[in-house]
Subunit: 470 residues, 2 copies
């Protein structure tokens, strides 16, 4: 149990809260999307919350916690789904949301503090320079850029730019280590892998330099199809249409689109499988041409044709995608949960059909098309009717046996989640940056279990540092 | 033979020149890159040149030529290599270079007259809005946008955006038909195929609306390798790196880079196969990281590290690519000619190696990496040591038998060039737009030979209109 009076006395300049209601509120992220994580993590709470506003605050806070042996779990807005911000060992939540300044905007790049909210960054960039971030999660309106880099993998924009794991999608990070005298590291290139998608286990991200893309008045469209296969094939075609700039491209199987997208429901017949996309206005005519070529396609919704008053109150299309699809399904049916899967190129369409046939209503297809290693393919974020944990594990196994790797959102460790591969290089860096193992403890198996075999053959989105460099 | 006094009397407001030197100069494009076309077309000349400055001028000129039965061959800057601007049947050259106005610039799009020079468009867009054209030929400094649309296929920018055949890379075209009363057509969507890459056989393009991309201070880099295979693999990797924005990405085999790129020669060891790229500054660190990962890669040249005085006089990297590579080789050795080939995904690297081994020094590899149907692959524009036309045809056949389609730049018809597939729909449009067959006569086999089988199985870059729509 953290000695809070002592901690406060060491950090007289910082706001530290220990009111249980507030601490519990700040000790929760969106882990509850998973019934498994909900069972495992729901009771957890930190002992206090430290609010920081500057890099110096972070350095001070980490030095004091290091001296006192207080575990530190960093937190942005707490919108992660894999439990990245859940404090497994009590201690302090380090709330970075006060570090929210945009520091500079230039052609193609922005520097912002880690706690800056993504939508705020985009508003600033759009107003000042007609630019916006390449990538953001569907939670852009609340999520912070630092939290995204620390635990996101991609999202809106990935159809054009790939994911955060791809070099070039993060330019530079400033990171504070947790040592007797915390150091401020400036990481670029290969070193970005030390902290990207590491849940803050290897240092606290305090500043992010990110690439920008041009901001357009993206047009939201929904196209309907009689079969899931037809919707997926259309989305794949649209994805592969190199001349049509897209920001988002998803497919949701019937009847989930109608049932879950309540504000758009009047446009969505219940039996239609839909492709939802954001298209740059200069490519809208080309998009319509492609849609007309597809005999099975029916344009159900287009923000281009909608009078402004009717657009009011409608969520943007990206807020029907990624984990917002899951969220909307959960609101309709609390028994719904989800998976995160990868349909490997070039068999993505056949595999989508195969799994759809295999599971029927138990696993409702939700596909997110992306650029992946230079090709178009799709992730799955299927809506799963949850019965038991054993059945959920079985559904995971059936996917993997079919050749569809699962990044299991019902596991809170980096390795079991499947996003981040740890290795000796990663571990060596953690020994330097967090020698006492106080940063977000319990999230990296390789740290806690010296016998852990990180050389396993499974698919990781963020490859181990050594493997990546070889 | 054109009755020039009569034509002049019908077009009192237009400048019409018939001085043989001027007419011959305006009757030539870059057809002479091909020894075959040089033999076939070198003697050709039109009878006169009509200079136009407005759409009304074009309408008047076409009406008069229609009435008098004068063939009309449109011309921008005459930088095409397939003989697109060569007048096969005398008549008039319609010089559109006076129609050079930029009409409007908006986020993501520009409208320009057909005769506007591409580099001028880019300068205007860059200055006014930080934007530039997505695609341009290596001849951007002289080529016109209309000529590019009428006979180009892609080029600089294709590594990010694909080609002109891809929907979205041309937004809208205004075209004047050649009838008793010429019509001004506004073509979008499916209809763009009527005139894109049709050499002006289906109407005269007078205005182009094109998509724009953000303009960056692109960094020119050249990376050296000991083997062609290593250079091609690196370029393919860089192409597939979704987070690294590129504008140009080519590979040139040793010793051609050293021998032909004279201004860059001091950086280029003769035995190095090179990858030449333009990288966005926000991706430069990521590019360096990728290059460092490749044990065989050696950064030979980077404009990033070059003091401004040393950059003076150096051509931009894109002027070492596409047909500028051919041009530079031709200057060194007039016996060089070239081919244009496609290495189909996913076997591009194996096929590059195979053909390199097959031909040795007779066919020196020059690869241009592009996005093609949503994947990264490469075109070949190999430097061919020309001996006889029979051997050239044999080299073409060997490529095609190996699974590498050739868009034969030693043929001046649309069909034999292999870029443009004609079909009944295309032909029906030509019947409407050019009922007398006076537009660029002799370039469309399907028009001249009613028995022509346009359903052949060969690979066309611009698919027939019917096939595309099916």
């Amino acid at each position: 149990m953290t000695d809070i009076p002592l901690l406060k006395s060491r950090l007289p300049g910082l706001r530290i809260e220990d009111h249980p209601t507030l601490v519990r509120q700040k000790s929760r992220d969106f882990f509850w999307y998973s019934p498994v994580l909900k069972r495992q993590l729901d009771h957890l709470t930190a002992d206090c919350v430290i609010f920081v506003r500057t890099i110096e605050d972070v350095v001070e806070a980490l030095a004091a916690c290091y001296a006192l042996g207080v575990p530190v779990t960093p937190r942005g807005a707490g919108t992660g789904n894999y439990g990245q911000a859940m404090p497994l060992a009590g201690g302090a939540i380090l709330d970075l949301s006060g570090m929210d300044k945009v520091l500079s905007i230039a052609p193609g790049r922005i520097v912002a503090e880690a706690g800056a909210v993504i939508a705020d960054i985009d508003r600033r960039c759009q107003a000042q320079s007609g630019q916006e971030l390449r990538l953001h999660p569907s939670t852009a309106k609340t999520a912070t850029i630092g939290g995204f880099v620390a635990g996101g993998s991609g999202g809106v924009g990935s159809i054009s730019w790939g994911g955060l794991r791809d070099f070039g999608n993060i330019i530079r990070l400033k990171v504070v280590t947790m040592e007797a005298e915390p150091r401020l590291l400036d990481l670029q290139g290969e070193d970005l892998h030390k902290v990207s998608h590491a849940y803050g286990t290897n240092g606290i991200i305090v500043e992010c330099e990110m690439p920008l893309a041009p901001a357009y008045d993206w047009i939201d469209v929904i196209v309907g199809f009689d079969t899931l296969g037809a919707a997926a094939a259309f989305a794949n075609n649209l994805g592969e249409a190199d001349g049509i700039l897209k920001k988002q491209l998803a497919v949701v199987a019937a009847p989930a689109a109608h049932d879950c997208f309540n504000r758009h429901r009047r446009w969505l017949p219940r039996d239609k499988h839909v492709a939802c996309a954001m298209v740059a206005p200069q490519g809208y005519d080309a998009f319509l041409t492609l849609a007309r070529r597809d005999k099975g396609a029916q344009l159900l919704f287009s923000s281009h044709d909608l009078p402004a008053p009717e657009r009011k109150g409608l969520p943007e299309i990206y807020e029907l995608g990624w984990n917002h699809t899951t969220l909307r399904a959960l609101k309709v049916d609390p028994a719904i949960t989800y998976l995160q899967t990868l349909y490997p190129f070039p068999n993505q369409l056949a595999l989508v059909d195969k799994l759809h046939a295999l599971f029927g209503d138990e696993v409702v297809a939700h596909l997110e098309f992306v650029r992946f290693d230079g090709r178009i393919t799709c992730f799955g974020l299927p809506l799963v009717r949850f019965t038991t944990e054993a059945r959920l594990d079985e559904i995971v196994r059936i996917h993997e046996e079919a050749g569809v790797p699962v990044f299991n959102p019902h596991r809170y460790t980096l390795e079991e989640g499947g996003m981040k591969q740890t290795d000796a290089a990663q571990l060596a860096f953690k020994r330097e940056a967090d020698p006492k193992g106080l940063l977000n403890p319990g999230k990296m198996i390789a740290w806690d279990d010296p016998g852990y075999d990180y050389a396993s053959g499974r698919t990781y989105l963020f490859k181990g540092m050594q493997q990546a460099a070889e």
